[in-house]
Every structure is written in C-alpha cells, then in structure tokens.
Amino acid sequence: MLLEVRDLHVEFRTREGIAKAVNGVTYSVDEGETLAVLGESGSGKSVTAQAVMGILDTPPGRITGGRILFQGRDLLTLKEDERRKVRGARMAMVFQDALSALNPVLTVGDQLAEMFTVHRGASRKDARAKAVELMDRVRIPAARERAGQYPHQFSGGMRQRIMIAMAMALEPALIIADEPTTALDVTVQAQVMELLAELRRELRMGLVLITHDLGVVADVADRIAVMYAGRIVETAPVHDLYRAPAHPYTQGLLDSIPRLDRKGRELYAISGLPPSLTAIPTGCPFHPRCPRARDVCRTDDPPLYEVSADRRSACHFWRETLRKEPLDAPR
C-alpha cells in the first residue's frame, strides 16, 4: 500500500471553541491508483490532505490522533527534516488556485528549477534546463521564453499546468490534487484534468483527487471516499458507488445532479446545512438531514460497515439504502 491514513483526528482552535475538522478518517491509496475524496467544503477533505502533506497550519490546527503511513513509514513520527525530504520529492501537491499558490515575484522557471537545486543538488543551469523541459512536458508553448515570465503573465489554465509540472518535477510516488480544476474555466478544466491523468499513468503515480465535483470523479477515479463532517461515510469503487450508493448522503449527492432524463422534474436537494464543526451532532452526524434517520441514528455513531470486500458505509441502514427501499416513515 502506498499511502494509508488510519483513524486520523485533526482539531482547530477557533474563537467558537475546538473545531473537530477530521474525526477518525481512514483511507488508503495503492500505487498507480486514483482515489477521489468527495465532500462539501468543511467536510475535512482538504485538512486531511494537508495533514498528509505536512503543511497544516499549526497552530491553530493540531493532529490529535491517528497514523499516516507512506511507503511503510509513519510520517507523523518522522523528524521535520526527514519529513521535508519526502515533501515535493516523493509526494507532491497540486493546489486549487495556482495564481495565489505560485510566488508572484519569482519567475515560473525559478520556481520550477528550485525543486532540482534543493532536492537534487543540481546546478542552476541544469535545473533551469530541467524546468524548461518540464514546461514542455505539460505542453506550454514556447517554454524556453516563458520560463522567464512571472505567474501573472500566464492564463489560468497555463498556470495550473505549471503547478502540475512543479508537482511532477521529481516524479513522486503520490500526488495530492486539491480541487485542481475548480478555479478554471469549464473548457480548460477538461484539458487540465486530462493532462493530470495522463502524466499519472505514464509515471505510475498514486493520485488523491480532492473534489466536490461528481462529474470530474466519474472519468478519472478508481475509487471514491465520501466525506461528511470530518469523517468518511462511504468508500467504494467508482462504478459501484454510482450504480448504487450505500449511504443516504451519497444518495443525496447523486440525486442532486441535474440530469437530462429527469428534465422538468424538481431537482433534489439535501435539506438543512452541514453541522458546525464545533458542535457535531451526537450519533450519526448526518442524522439531522437524513431521510432514513431513526432513533438509533441519534444515539449511536455508526462504524464503517463492510458492505462488500472493497466497500464500506457508515450507515446503520446501509442495506436499505443500497436496495433503495422506500422511506417508511414520513419525516
């Protein structure tokens, strides 16, 4: 297994009290596998990724429990200097907004070359040549000339390509992409996603794709982990999940996608709002919004039930959900 996150807990100290951003998240990514982590903002998907990368803001954030195993080593027990050598070289991250994620006062060439000088001890000249090579590889036209330009001189799509080039630079084993296309035009989104998938295949990298966009997931992911209120509520191979979700929240997400074959009918929306992370409801955190909730959901926090060999669901009534049984009691 390339990456295993086990029972991870992350808290943030805020003015309103302790916000429990991640509450026992467990997921794993195999070599060459793409895992999509799906969830609304505030579900803890980015915080989990930041904890894995080791770029969590501490304080206010704090990892209060769990393990992060990467290539067999627990990253949380590594010394900061060893941890640093893993970052960028063996696992890398693609951020959502390349414009703010790239340093505005350094040329993109310098920012790419830095990877080689710092991690590989390359000379400035070699590093520079490698940077141009990388830009070529992510199909930036006139790479040699553009390497001397600053981030704001590139279009959104080109900037995201540079971001990807930077992540790929040292051919890491794992890439974490945090909403890599959200900030882009729809027309550019597909191109960037395709580039990412293609490079992943070529370099046989594992990919954790964080997104709230179900459309993106279907095309590129092997497996999906759905997050809600800082925990995983369902994991499944992507096609199984689309065919028959085993958690009412996943069901709700799928139902709220506009579909041509249901044109004219009212669009489904999950009622209510996600809970505040400073006051997560007892029992199943989804119960206040769940159409299937019963008394047991208000008191007992559901474990991750084994639905099948490669599927899990954190719902007491996953069978009913999976079989799409009609809702018995009107709520």
Binding site: R84, K85, S100, N103, V105, L106, V118, Y150, M166
Partner: protein, 307 residues
C-alpha cells in the same frame, strides 16, 4: 516601465507647483518680510523701497512667484537678509541633515525590520505581543519628549554619549539624534513588517514552498521575505523625505546646525528667501523620494513592472 516613469514625472509637476505656491503664499502673503527685517525700528523708507524692489515685493503675488521660481531654476535662491547667499546656507546645512537622516534610516532598516520579522514569525507569542505594545507606546511619545528624555538619560545622567553635537556633526555624534529621529518611524517599520510577514506566512505561495519540501530558512528568505518586505522598503524610501522635513525638532534638541536649524532661524527672523528656498528643496526631495519609491516598487514587484 519607461511610460510609467514619464507618467509619474508628469504627475509630479502640478504637485510641485501647488506645494511651492502654497508655501510661497504663506510666507509672502501672510507676513511682511521688510517690516520684520527692521524689527522694532521704523524702516528707512528709501531702504525699504529698495529691498521691496529687489525682492519684487511690489509686484503682484503670482508674478513674484513666477520670478522666484524662474530664479530658482537658474540656481539662484536669493540672499538671506544677513547678506549670505541662501545657497551657501544650504551647502553647510544639507550635508548635516543628510547625515542625520542617513543614520536614522539605517537604524530604521536594521532594527525595525529585524524586530518586525522576528515578531511576525512569532505571531501571537509573548514576544510579539510585547513588541506590539512597545511600538504603540513609542509611537505615542512625541519626538521632542523622547528626544529630551534620551538626551537627559544617556547624555547627562549616565554620560554614555555627548548630549550635544559639535558643529562638524560627525557620524558618531549623530547616533543618538539619529535614534531619536528614527524612533517613531522605527516603531512603524516594525509594525508594518510584522503585519506583512504575519499576513504572508499564511499566503498560499508560502504553503506551496513548504509543500515543495524547501528547508525553512529558504522558505523564509527566498519566498516570504521577498514578498513581505516590498511594502516596508517602499515605506522607508518615502520616509527619507519625511525625516528630512521632520528633523527640525531633533536638530533643535541636540543643537545641530542642519536644515531644521536654518529654517527655524529663518522663520523666527521672518527671513523669507531662506524659508521658501529651504522648503522648496525639501519638497523636491520629498517628491523625488516618492518617485524613486514608485520605481523601486516596480522593480521589486513584477506585477507592477509588467502591468
């Protein structure tokens, strides 16, 4: 870049005219230089008339202003009433004030930025909170108060430095006056760099730099400082002009015969050519400093350079 410079230069012209005109009007329209020259004695009408004519005081004000400005651009700042050329006064006074300002700016840069960076990196810790309070207090104590206090404590009571400055105004004598002059700006530089650092530590590009696996010192020096210090550097640049104008209080406390001293004498004696001449030069320094800062800004921040 070239067009940017030209535009800035063009924008300076009306400001220069407006500012000098305002000063000119204040000095010439509000006071009577000739009467002041003679003090309590009744001026001899013939002499008074001659002086009025020399200074074009009998012309309408706008014409006086034009004649005066015309003379200035030929390098003629007129004569002080004691017969000395104003340019001679300037030649002795400006180097002194320039040295004083230099000392102050160096102190501002070294101490202010260091404290600010340390404070910003330790945001929220006791050191940071303490420094914030101290800077507020320093900003609140007017220069003439801190000047006398430091002069009294360091110069008189403990005898660490000489409490007044000789007429050569050597650099080592100017350290204490430099500190006094710099003090308020220093506190401000500290706060400014602290805020800037603290804001930028959370910037996305810093997170990227960490995610790239760069060592901490490289993240700070190459990524964080470079960005954070842009506003600080531009502030300090603009402050050079302001410090020269504000040196008048410090120079009075330490009895330094610089620009402030000459100006003060000029004002006390209603010596219009001295006052207007010195102030005009200070305004020019101020404007040029601001222009340079704008250019510096463009050099430091590519987003402006290529805008």
């Amino acid at each position: 870049m070239g067009r940017y410079v030209v535009r800035r230069l063009l924008q300076m012209i009306p400001v220069f005219i407006g500012t000098t005109l305002l000063i000119f009007l204040m000095v010439y329209a509000l006071g009577d230089p000739v009467a002041a020259l003679f003090g309590d004695k009744a001026p001899d009408p013939a002499t008074a008339a001659r002086i009025r004519e020399d200074l074009h005081l009998d012309e309408p004000l706008w014409k006086q202003y034009l004649l005066y400005m015309g003379a200035i651009f030929r390098g003629d700042f007129g004569t002080a009433f004691n017969g000395q050329r104003v340019t001679e006064l300037m030649a002795t006074a400006f180097p002194v004030t320039l040295r004083l300002t230099l000392v102050a700016v160096v102190i501002e840069i070294v101490v202010g930025i260091t404290l600010g960076v340390v404070s910003g990196l330790k945001r929220g810790r006791p050191l940071d909170t303490g420094l914030l309070v101290v800077t507020l207090v320093v900003i609140s104590v007017p220069t003439f108060v801190s000047g006398y206090l430091l002069q009294f404590l360091l110069g008189v009571k403990w005898g660490w430095v000489s409490p007044s400055v000789s007429s050569d105004a050597r650099l080592d004598e100017l350290i204490l006056p430099g500190v006094v002059l710099a003090l308020v700006s220093l506190a401000y530089v500290t706060r400014l760099s602290r805020t800037s650092i603290a804001e930028n530590t959370r910037a996305d590009y810093v997170r990227t730099a960490i995610a790239k696996g760069l060592p901490r010192h490289r993240v700070i020096t190459r990524h964080l400082l470079r960005n954070s210090l842009i506003p600080v550097v531009t502030f300090i640049g603009a402050d050079v002009g302001a410090l020269m104008g504000g040196a008048i209080v410090t120079e009075r406390i330490f009895n330094i015969h610089g620009v402030g001293y000459q100006l003060y004498q000029g004002i006390l004696r209603n010596n219009s050519p001295t006052v207007v001449g010195f102030v005009t030069i200070l305004v020019i320094v101020f404007l040029v400093a601001n222009l340079l800062v704008d250019l510096l800004y463009a050099v430091l921040d590519p987003r402006i350079r290529y805008a």
